[in-house]
Amino acid sequence: MLVRRAAPALGLLTLVLLAGVSSAFAAPAAPGRSAARSFAITLLREEYHFNPEILPSLLETHPADLGLAGAEEAIYELNTAGKFIGWHFKLAVVTVPDGGNVAATADRLLAHGPTVIIADLRADDLLTLANLPAAKNALILDMRTSEDLLRQQDCRTNVFHLLPSQAMRTDAIAQFLVLKRWTRWFLIQGPTPQDAVYAADVRRSAARYGARVVAEKTYNYDAGSRRSDTGYQQIQTQMPLATEVSADYDVIFVADESDLFGDYLPYNTYAARPVVGTQGLVASAWTPAYQEYAALQMQQRFDLFAHRGMTERDYGGWLAVRIVGNAVMRAGKTSPLAMRTYLRSSDFLVAGYKGQGLTFRTWDNQLRQPVLLSQPLMTVSISPQPGFLHPGYTTDTLGFDEPETQCRFAQ
């Protein structure tokens, strides 16, 4: 269960060996040579209880290796590179059972000193991990969450976020809608606290880009008719009722983070309007349909490896491992603290099939990145959209920019 960590002495040795790696590094091919230095990465995940019955569509699946497969594929990629220059990477997967004690498990992992942990954890567990005294000098790569709060008031210096925040997602959609001049939005939100955060982001995006929320409604869908023979008949009568408002609008912006009813909206709305938001046209870092910027190669490689499409969480796991690989092999950083400094420096970038290098925002440790806008089978567009400019990075038009951040890293 516990991870084997590289001995501290080995870590020192690697630093010496890798001096000068940033200018040039060449070595004879040495596949399988015993001199290869090894680096261990821990992936900490909790086996959250999941009832597939709650998925509204039979086409939705919940593979057991969701997210993990992305990290494993990336380990294979790192070792392909590593064999040429004498590095070997090992992924130690530590799974906490549903409702298990993340803190106790993490404390055991961190008992011998700070380490690199890829966190496939929900927001509350991620924060528990980040707050552990033993994790103070660790490097935690968050491959799963998008909660704004973790990038705002609850930001932590030891956590780096790889997937777009909720605010980045609503901004990505908003830019596209403004470009289309679909600027009158009907906001319909679900009952959960996360739906409320997402809805607040929609209002914020509207204010940012000159769109208007012309109508709002909170909707609590009773899931009783799900997957029953008469389901569509229920939906067909309920959704028009839920979407009937007096204001005229261009699009329905749905805030339904738990997938309770959003997928029932398209074609069932009262007025003939497109659906965007958490369902319909969605914003994400990755979808299995995305193929631009050589992503086709990644999709084919992942399918060969995992025998299924690559999801956003797989992409998160893949990115996390690739980021560690860059820190170790490219920059020669092997201690979590040195890695943290490197990730926040201008020397760092990671390639993620987005046509540009991805870097971290220093004010909240969020990976800046273009965000995909997709319908189920196709990528519709990629934000930032043309004309949305920023003095630094155009991708910083998405989400919380430096002047508005609520994150205060304790120095």
Binding site: V21, S23, A24, F25, A26, A27, P28, A29, E77, T80, A81, F84, I85, A294, Q297, Q300, R301, L304, N326, M329, R330, L349, V350, A351, G355, Q356, G357, Y393, T394, T395
Partner: protein, 329 residues
């Protein structure tokens, strides 16, 4: 087929006249062969008028494209069909298909033209093929997503860059062993030797740089950076590289920066940025090296740059998502 029908009707003399006539029109002018990744075609342009002479159907996803040393054929990699189409440069028809193994992206030939080197993008391999027989000589495991290939003038070394591993791999063509693996900036695309063979230049698309490598010591001796006023750094993605024959100037296409950089290849100073179409990809010279041709992936055209004045003269339409260009004198 129509020609044969015509011969039956009008007699051999007329057919001969037609053939001679059509050859007379094509004689003299050089020709550009442009691979169109999305269309599954190669567009052939007249090198003087830049009018489309032919659109040749290929197998699926044509990308890497080169002319054989004797200019008798143009070879194009069909990534989704696992083969190379051999286009006869006289008849402008695909006359042969060579099996390459999965997902060939680019190719290069030995100086004598007896061997083809292919990068198999999905399999992290370089496949070496006997051109005459089509038989595979060997396969060499390299980094992930191998792409650009360079062959030294003496044929002793083949270099392949791997996009996801971010290395330039040096292969000895006697032993087929890797002799060096040089880590370069992120997502290398193209490797090319300087005309005097003293250096190897490697473009890194996502890293936004060009690495100059000493091929003897396998060390990076210089890294060329690009700064374009008004263009964000993340849009600068170097891809194609070409040198003038004297080795004094280098041209580097910069992807989404929509420009080609002109670099003093002795001092590594960038002298000029020439605005071209959108997302310029591979570039190549005209046969007399007076023009530089740029395949613009997003605007579906080829920009022609006058090398003497360093000005973009015009852009001509080709197929969708043009990837690379081969030139026949």
């Amino acid at each position: 087929m129509p020609l044969r029908a015509m011969m039956g009707r009008c007699g051999a003399a007329l057919a001969c006249a037609i053939i001679l006539c059509s050859f007379a029109v094509r004689a003299g002018a050089s020709e550009l062969f442009v691979s169109n990744e999305v269309d599954d075609t190669v567009t052939v342009l007249n090198g003087e008028t830049y009018k489309i002479i032919a659109t040749i159907p290929t197998d699926q996803r044509p990308r890497g494209i080169i002319a054989t040393p004797d200019d008798k054929a143009v070879l194009v990699c069909d990534g989704d069909s696992s083969n190379i189409d051999v286009i006869d440069t006289r008849t402008l028809k695909v006359v042969r298909r060579i099996d390459t193994g999965p997902d060939p992206e680019t190719l290069a030939m030995s100086p004598s033209g007896d061997k083809i080197y292919v990068s198999n993008e999905n399999n992290a391999l370089v496949t070496v093929i006997n051109y005459a027989t089509g038989k595979w000589i060997t396969q060499i495991p390299v980094g992930i997503e191998p792409e650009g290939l360079a062959v030294s003038k003496n044929g002793r070394t083949v270099v392949v860059v791997s996009e996801t591993t971010s290395m330039a791999h040096f292969i000895d063509t006697k032993t087929w062993q890797l002799v060096a693996n040089v880590l370069v900036d992120t997502r290398p695309r193209i490797a090319i030797y300087t005309p005097d063979q003293r250096y190897l230049w490697v473009s890194s698309e996502v890293g936004g740089t060009v690495s100059v490598i000493d091929p003897r010591s396998h060390r990076i001796v210089h890294v060329i950076d690009f700064h374009i006023p008004g263009v964000d750094k993340e849009y600068i993605g170097p891809v194609g590289i070409r040198f003038t024959a004297d080795g004094n100037l280098a041209f580097v296409s910069l992807g989404r920066a929509n420009r080609v950089a002109v670099i003093n290849a002795r001092t590594y100073e960038v002298e000029k940025y020439i605005l071209v179409g959108q997302r310029p990809w591979q570039i190549t010279f005209s046969a007399d090296r007076s023009q530089l041709y740029v395949a613009n992936g997003l605007t579906n055209d080829v920009t022609i740059i006058d090398v003497a004045s360093l000005k973009a003269v015009k852009s001509v339409p080709v197929g969708r998502l043009p990837w690379g260009i081969a030139v026949i004198p």
